[in-house]
């Protein structure tokens, strides 16, 4: 019980646990977006000509596009001319060991509960730290290099592996794909690049910590992950952000490519600042994530735990092109107070014998709105495609909403598509049962919710699963009773 009281104390006292500002000087771009901004970012990063051209092409495409209004979320209009599109920590000098890293940054990670010193020792986790857009330090690089695995920042990749970047960037999410993808393509600051060579099983979980730090800077991450034939990689992405009153835009793009027999496991714990209890502030998280199962027998699996952000709007998708390829999507989305989430997935079946599985668990509390929106599309040539989807919603409180918008489009008779969804609240009989055995209502709700989300949590790497459970408790603070 002592532990539970501890959790409740943490829960009720914490406002936004990870809200703080690190004072690091930064080298910002001018406020606003123009062709000059794009050139400035490109120049700042010493990019080759082809990259600049690619960015400009995206910028021109973006100018012609209009902001989409179809999602089930509401927010004041974003002024794209009031955003600083580039902020980089001042380059000090090339660092060889952790001791040389800015002590303030190290302090930041201590507050986050993952001290870097320990990270180094922690078995099997290499961290590519992204602090306001520029990778400050990449650990484990040397070790991965031995296996031929490339894991570096996007900027380094553009310099060191231009042929790989040029071949794959925008191949899964084209610059014209959507409004925010085009914006990202034009102004992306940095991100992670990962290449797993043929037949290699990445021996550790690769992970990146993103943080938004500079006030008013949009964070435009770009991640590209390529798993070559017969390789395997598990990638972790986790987010926290400092407390701010003004909304911050986060428009990332993640592209995954899986070749023959390759497998990619991509896990996310997202805990951006959700705004305060009155719904003021918070991050706009408008992300485009997509993977393509290019080769036969390939597999891409997305697992996400979404607890943060004022608005979450993302659909990690899988294009199942290779024969026998598999796509998976496991999601827990929690909204509380005035948070809004419109999230789900797309499974596009193109190849024969492709299979996909969707498990989505939505929890809405307070005055929040939580929507699942998903597409399962079976093309005429996708013989024997199989999909199973399950989208459950749980409502806590009578002022929140849970919505489901699944699109099922089938054009092949041998396809088998199954979809089911339920919406309900936690049964009073179940709560009574727990109360009767001495559990407080709050503890009982936590217990039930953890059980409800278990199907998703079990797909997370262990450390993440523990963190996710704690996050869930924090996110649902004060929503019961």
């Amino acid at each position: 019980m002592a532990e539970e009281i501890d959790i409740i104390d943490q829960v009720t006292q914490s406002d936004y646990k990870y809200g703080f500002v690190t004072n690091v000087e930064s080298d910002n771009a001018k406020v606003g977006l123009s062709e000059d901004t794009v050139r400035f970012i490109s120049a700042k990063k010493n990019e080759p000509e082809w990259m600049l051209e690619w960015r400009l092409k995206a910028y021109k495409a973006w100018l012609q596009m209009t902001e989409p209004t179809w999602p089930n979320v509401h927010y004041p209009k974003i002024d794209y001319q009031k955003i600083i599109y580039y902020a980089a920590p001042k380059p000090k000098k090339v660092l060889n060991s952790l001791d040389e890293v800015d002590p303030e940054i190290l302090e930041t990670f201590k507050k986050l509960g993952i001290p870097m010193e320990e990270q180094k020792i922690l078995a099997g986790v290499a961290v590519d730290v992204v602090m306001d857009s520029v990778s400050v330090k990449t650990t484990y690089k040397e070790k991965l290099k031995e296996l031929g695995i490339i894991f570096c920042s996007m900027s380094d990749a553009i310099k060191d592996y231009p042929e790989l970047v040029q071949k794959y960037i925008g191949s899964v999410v084209p610059v014209r794909d959507n409004y925010f993808a085009a914006l990202n393509s034009a102004v992306f600051s940095d991100g992670s690049f990962c290449y797993i060579p043929k037949g290699t099983r990445c021996p550790m979980e690769l992970s990146t910590y993103f943080r938004i730090n500079e006030a008013n800077t949009g964070q435009f991450e770009r991640t590209l992950l390529i798993a070559d034939e017969g390789s395997y990689v598990s990638y972790l992405e986790g987010c926290t952000a400092p407390m701010r009153d003004e909304n911050q835009l986060h428009a990332a793009v993640v592209e995954l490519v899986a070749m023959d027999n390759a497998e990619i496991k991509y896990s996310t714990v997202q805990n951006w600042y959700p705004g305060n209890k009155e719904g003021k502030g918070g991050i706009y998280n408008f992300v485009t994530k997509r993977g393509i199962c290019q080769g036969i027998n390939s597999k891409i699996s997305w697992t996400q735990v979404e607890t943060g952000s004022a608005i979450t709007w993302k659909y990690p998708s899988v294009v199942l092109k290779g024969e026998n390829s598999i796509g998976e999507f496991y999601s827990v989305a929690v909204t509380n107070n005035y948070q809004q989430a419109d999230t789900g997935t797309k499974m596009i079946h193109i190849g024969k014998n492709t299979r996909s599985r969707i498990v989505s668990k939505g929890i809405s509390a307070g005055k929040s709105q939580n929507s699942y929106r998903g597409l399962v599309k079976v093309n005429p040539n996708a013989e024997n495609a199989y999909n199973f989807s399950q989208c459950d919603s749980l409502l806590i409180g009578d002022r929140c909403g849970a919505h489901t918008f699944p699109y099922l489009e089938v054009s092949n008779k041998s396809a088998k598509v199954e979809h089911e969804a339920t919406t309900s609240k936690i049964g009073e009989d179940i709560l009574f049962y727990c109360n009767q055995r001495g559990l407080s209502t709050e503890t009982a709700v936590q217990l039930i919710i953890n059980g409800y989300c278990k199907e998703v949590f079990q797909h997370l790497p262990m450390e993440f699963a523990a963190e996710a459970q704690k996050l869930l408790a924090v996110s649902l603070e004060g929503s019961v009773g």
Binding site: W70, P380, S393, L395, I396, G397, D398, R399, C400, G401, A402, H403, T404, F405, P406, Y407, L408, E409, V410, S411, N412, K413, S414, A415, K416, V417, E418, H419, E420, A421, T422, T423, S424, K425
Partner: protein, 432 residues
């Protein structure tokens, strides 16, 4: 006023020629036309029309022809459901045909007749309810209908009255017409009343006008209305049907939609459950071949607590046919203790058939039980094998399994003779 939508231009000019009247129908025309002038014909970019390209039908510049067509037709070409003892209302090209119609039930205050007539007479229930449910601000076809419709069925069932025999409404569209025929019906039932309605749409020939029909139903407190929409005749018909209904306390309302044909059929159903302890049921079957397309859009709005709704839609799609199902369950914040269920099952029988399903839930109350399920696939090979092992040939086995799959929906119908007839029709179609 803003500019008129290009697809509404021809209609607008035509509408200005209509003679203005001060009847309930006449008064409703102007705001509806203004709304349609803004909306225009929806294209596939419109979320609700994503899979049904109705705009393509209007490329040739169709206009309203409700006013200019004759209403004579040979009764031998019609299916008037002779196996049923019933009241019959027949409308040819949107106009009442007294010679083909026949009303057998009589009770004090009971009205089964032509909307145009009772509009002229100024019937109280018509005055109070006409155009109160239609969503002319958002639904282009609804607005178009209100602006042009001349006639249709009007049924008024007074309180504590049970209509002994079903009312069959037959809408006939004759051959060789280009344009839109608008027909409009209104059904109002009082407290503790009961009514069975069968509506049949019959298109005579391959080249017929587009039928745009709007039906408003008000289900009274503690009342029961069973509404059947039957489209079984041949591979013909371009049809947009809007059903809008409202339910009072303790009422029951069931909708059965059976489509065994249809070139391009759109069934919109929107039901507002405005009373406590009420139930609504929606049962649909679309068994299609050729290049048919049937699009069922169902919206159930739970506005009051302690209500229940069920939706069951099944599709059997052969050849190049397309089936669309879009179900929406909407539970308002105060509609606690709502139980709402939705199920859509489709079997694809051919390589070229398509199915699009979008079962939506929008829930704003927490003490609810809502669920939906959707499956798509083909007949299980092991089932076929089981039947073949018992001496049936492949075709017989498949027909039997398809029949069993589809009969699920028809079995829900409570009017025995109609159920038997539909099962028969289905068997004929599946063994063809």
């Amino acid at each position: 006023m803003n500019a008129i939508h290009p697809t509404a231009q021809a209609f607008y000019e035509q509408w200005e020629q209509l003679e203005p009247t001060q009847t309930p129908m006449g008064i409703a025309r102007k705001p509806a036309m203004d709304s349609f002038a803004q909306l225009g014909i929806p294209t596939i970019r419109h979320e609700d029309w994503k899979y049904t390209n109705v705009a393509a039908q209007f490329k040739a510049g169709l206009t309203d022809i409700t006013n200019i067509t004759s209403n004579t037709v040979d009764a031998n070409h019609l299916n008037l459901f002779p196996f049923l003892k019933a009241n019959r209302l027949v409308f040819v090209n949107g106009h009442f045909s007294p010679t083909l119609s026949d009303v057998i039930d009589a009770a004090e205050g009971l009205v089964i007749g032509s909307l145009a007539l009772y509009n002229e007479l100024g019937h109280m229930a018509l005055r109070d309810n006409y155009n109160t449910l239609a969503n002319n601000d958002k639904e282009a076809f609804s607005a178009l209908n209100t602006a042009f419709a001349q006639d249709g069925a009007f049924i008024y069932v007074p309180a504590k009255t049970e209509v002994a025999h079903p009312v069959i409404i037959v809408h006939v569209t004759t051959e060789g017409l280009q344009g839109v025929i608008n027909s409009r019906s209104l059904i109002v039932t009082g407290r503790s009343s009961r009514l069975d309605v069968i509506e049949s749409h019959q298109y005579l020939g391959n080249d017929t006008a587009l039928g745009n029909q709007l039906l408003e139903i008000v289900v009274g407190e503690n009342g029961l209305v069973n509404y059947h929409k039957i489209m079984t005749d041949g591979n013909i018909g371009k049809h947009v049907g809007n059903l809008v209904a409202k339910q009072g306390n303790d009422s029951r309302f069931n909708t059965y939609v059976v489509n065994l044909a249809g070139q391009l059929v759109r069934n919109n159903m929107v039901v507002d459950i405005d009373g406590k302890n009420s139930e609504a049921g929606f049962y649909g079957l679309y068994s299609l071949d050729g290049a048919s397309q049937v699009d069922n859009h169902v919206t159930v709005k739970h506005n009051e607590p302690h209500c229940e709704s069920h939706q069951l839609f099944k599709g059997l799609l052969d050849d190049k046919s397309t089936g669309v199902f879009n179900g929406r369950i909407f539970v308002k914040q105060d509609a606690q203790k709502t139980n709402a269920f939705q199920s859509n099952k489709t079997i694809l029988l051919s390589e070229q058939a398509n199915t699009y399903t979008k079962p939506q839930l929008e829930i704003f109350a927490d003490d609810v039980k809502c669920s939906h399920g959707a499956t798509m696939g083909q007949i299980d090979q092991t089932m076929v094998f089981y039947l073949r092992a018992r001496g049936l040939d492949e075709a017989q086995a498949r027909a039997m399994l398809n029949q069993a799959f589809a009969a699920d929906v028809i079995e829900k119908i409570t009017l025995e003779p109609l159920k038997e007839w539909l099962l028969n029709q289905l068997t004929q179609q599946l063994t063809r």
